[in-house]
Amino acid sequence: MTTLDTDSKLAEKGYRYGFVSNIESDTFPKGLNEDIIRQLSKIKNEPEFVLEFRLKAFRHWQTLTEPTWPHVEYEQVDFQDLRYYSAPKSKTEKAPESLDEVDPELLKTFEKLGIPLSEQKRLTGVAVDAVFDSVSVATTHQEELEKHGVIFCSFSEALQNHPELVKKYMGSVVPYSDNFYAALNSAVFTDGSFCYIPKGVKCPLELSTYFRINASETGQFERTLIVAEEGSYVSYLEGCTAPMRDENQLHAAVVELVAMDDAEIKYSTVQNWYAGDEEGKGGIYNFVTKRGLCKGRKSKISWTQVEAGSSITWKYPSVILRGDYSIGEFYSVALTNNKMQADTGTKMIHIGKHTKSTIVSKGISADESANSYRGLVQIQPGAYKARNFSQCDSMLVGDQCSANTFPYIEVKNNTADVEHEASTSKISADQLFYLQSRGMDMEAAVSLLINGFCKEVFKELPLEFSVEAVKLLEMKLEGSVG
């Protein structure tokens, strides 16, 4: 139980990360065409195959139309009215050798966000890759990771230093033709993180990427690729924030995970992009494609997400269970308030024998928001004895919001066992009364109950994240209750 004292409550009201850093940056002109893509590839000094990949994706993207099936309403994005590259100026001439060469304003920004990058202050036990608009600013703890053979760096660095690895895996899980936003991302992706965990290594640190959008009129298109070789283990965290602005900004990322035999990848996200104001003005459009491939036998991929930001969320972290005995997990808490709209869920594609998946989704909608769970469980004909358990619970806070559930279940094998459960309810008046009669105020009681409602998911998060997630929900729900 966490009780916030009044002072910090006031300070935290609203969006804490909504500031803009005053950093000179190099940006591309608005618009999207093959020249922009060529220029982007040139500025990043990319190998030839990447440019080809980008162009192929771009040509395919032009043939696609924006999907309209999600249960969200928003103004269409004008893709020609965006800038596809924005990087802090100091970075563009030559990559800084050490943190001393990085613009202090940038370091200050991350410090303000609670992610100190400098040697003395940086977080112990967590290696951070900090991505600012279109480029990665710094990656901490690299030396220590290198000792274990773990590669953890920005995607651009990986393209320079490990092109063969990137070439082998990029697009293998999310092909450029996958969907509208994945195609767009494949054409214009800028930076992101790359991790490679060699055979038999348990990654000694938590790996983490912090995404920050700062420039206006830009979109952020990052790409993350994590490869876990046989018998390895990695836990990866992702966090994101953006300034408060009146216009909407687009964030279209692609995340690909590959797990070989006996490997395990744990991917946790705390998403707190700016969600727009009470009127629903501004905020980030979060259109993300995340997919993991359990390629090897007994591999395991687990997605945990706390979605508390973005004005529109369109996100379905999925697992393709190809290896026999592989396991896929999805734990999600999605909170919407004000006029936020979220359409999120997962896909579990069972291909291998004895594959197992678990889906636990908790949706909380408050104020005038709309929160939808959309998920697919597909048991393919060869998935002998596949097993799935799904549970989607929704909680409504207030009578102007909505909660929807759209599960798709496709079973093509009779030895499979698939269960789906969903419920919708509101905070029980009895429970509230009980807590209040014990002297707890309304808000503390609600936060305790919400915390309990989400417990199953929070316990999957790494400790620091879990604490942060609880605080985040408390902050978001403030003023929605009562």
Partner: protein, 437 residues
């Protein structure tokens, strides 16, 4: 839009001519509008979210004709549907057969007429019933049915009438006419505080005849009335059946419905219910079986518009061979509909490795003080139960049959009338449990 093989234009002109005698202006307009709707929309493709799992290409690629009235028919195979205690209406190849029907001696307060006549006499009630349903709920197949509106019955139960005897509608397909298409349309109107039980059966015991049966039933239940509505679909193994049942419920009305689907090659049942008054109860239960290459699709939709209504759904599917079932259940709870209690469960039992079950239960909720749950399961026979029976000396196939029976019985028991339950159980055995796989 896929190409249309049947010459629907020609058929539409013919149907217009046939019904011209009883045609009224409003109906002619309704028919024309719906035909235009069908022309514009064409048959849905799998890209349409509502038809994601059901491809109607086999219907749109086939060619069908309107049926003709048969002079002589042999109903010896359908004796089990003849019971003198029931009000009986027989449709033979889609056309009402006065000879085999008993709608002359009706209990007081109950009026049953061929739709053709009712359109002339009771046009206002029919219009009122049809207008309860929003135009958005219309689709290609409701459009098609309405465009060809002709055969069917109009049942009106006056206020405060308790119609004790079962109203039995039987649609028999003889197989004597090849490749026919029929568009039966029934309109039911229950006055305030009345009560009635209706069973609608579509059956062909000529297992190989091909026809396209696009049926539709519109029901309006006034305040405090109670309706039992059961539907059995036991079409021929080569038949296409698309049915749309729309039910409109007013304050404190009570509905118990059951949909049994055992026949047909490609079947789609749409059941949509609007709860437009507080305190309604709606029970929607269903059982479907799929063997050979049968494709059975059940779509339900319950629209909770007013507070304090209850809806309760249990749909079960039994699958064998290359059978495939689809279930899509939607529950909408509008903002005003506080204190709604909606429950939905879909369970599927796969008896063969090639069977496929797709299920999509969905909830859209805009009110906060509600209790809504849904669940879906797909699984196989419990091995321990099977082992137990086998260890008692019961052969495996018999044991499987017994357990399938048990699985089905659970939902059959929700039919409140014993006579109907027995008849449905009989169809289940005939078409699935006792038939060779």
């Amino acid at each position: 839009m896929s190409s249309v093989t049947t010459d629907y234009n020609k058929a539409f002109e013919l149907s217009k001519k046939l019904s011209s005698s009883g045609n009224t202006d409003w109906l002619a307009e309704l028919r024309q509008n719906n035909y235009d709707l069908f022309q514009n929309e064409g048959f849905p493709t799998v890209k349409h979210e509502e038809w994601k799992y059901t491809n109607v290409k086999r219907i749109s690629d086939s060619s069908f004709n309107l049926p003709e009235e048969l002079e002589k028919t042999d109903l010896s195979h359908y004796q089990d549907f003849i019971n003198d205690n029931e009000i009986r209406l027989f449709f033979i190849d889609g056309i009402l057969s006065q000879k085999h029907s008993t709608c002359s001696e009706l209990p007081g307060g109950v009026s049953i007429k061929p739709l053709k006549e009712a359109i002339k006499d009771n046009g206002d009630i029919i219009q009122k019933v049809i207008n309860h349903f929003p135009t958005e709920s219309e689709n290609t197949f409701t459009g098609l049915n309405t465009a060809f509106i002709q055969e069917g019955v109009f049942i009106d139960v006056a206020a405060k009438t308790q119609a004790d005897c079962l109203i039995n509608l039987v649609y028999v397909f003889t197989g004597e006419q090849a490749d026919i298409m029929t568009f039966p349309r029934n309109i039911l109107h229950l006055g305030e505080s009345s009560q009635a039980s209706v069973v609608e059966t579509h059956i062909s015991r000529n297992l190989h005849c091909v026809y396209f049966n696009n049926s539709m039933t519109d029901i309006s239940i006034a305040a405090n009335a109670r309706l039992n509505y059961f539907k059995a679909q036991a079409d021929s193994r080569n038949a296409f059946h698309v049915s749309n049942t729309r039910i409109y419920q007013e304050r404190d009305s009570h509905l118990e419905s059951f949909t049994l689907t055992v026949g047909g090659s490609l079947v789609r049942n749409n059941l949509s219910i609007i709860l437009d008054g507080p305190g309604c109860h709606s029970g929607l239960d269903g059982l479907c079986t799929a063997s050979d290459h049968q494709h059975i699709d059940n779509h339900t939709s319950v629209d909770h518009r007013e507070p304090s209504c209850v809806s309760d759904q249990l749909y079960k599917g039994l699958l064998r061979d290359h059978g495939r079932t689809v279930f899509n259940g939607k529950i909408y709870v509008k903002q005003k509909a506080q204190l709604t209690n909606a429950y939905q469960l879909n369970r599927n039992l796969l008896l063969s490795p090639n069977a496929e079950a797709d299920t999509k239960p969905q909830l859209e909720i805009y009110a906060d003080d509600v209790k809504c749950t849904h669940g879906a399961t797909v699984g196989q026979m419990n091995e321990e139960e099977l082992f137990y029976l086998q260890s008692r000396g019961i052969p495996k196939n018999v044991a499987i049959n017994m357990l399938s029976h048990g699985f089905a019985e659970d939902v059959l028991l929700r039919i409140p009338l014993e006579g109907v339950r027995d008849r449905f159980r009989g169809l289940l055995c005939e078409y699935f449990l006792n038939s060779e796989s």
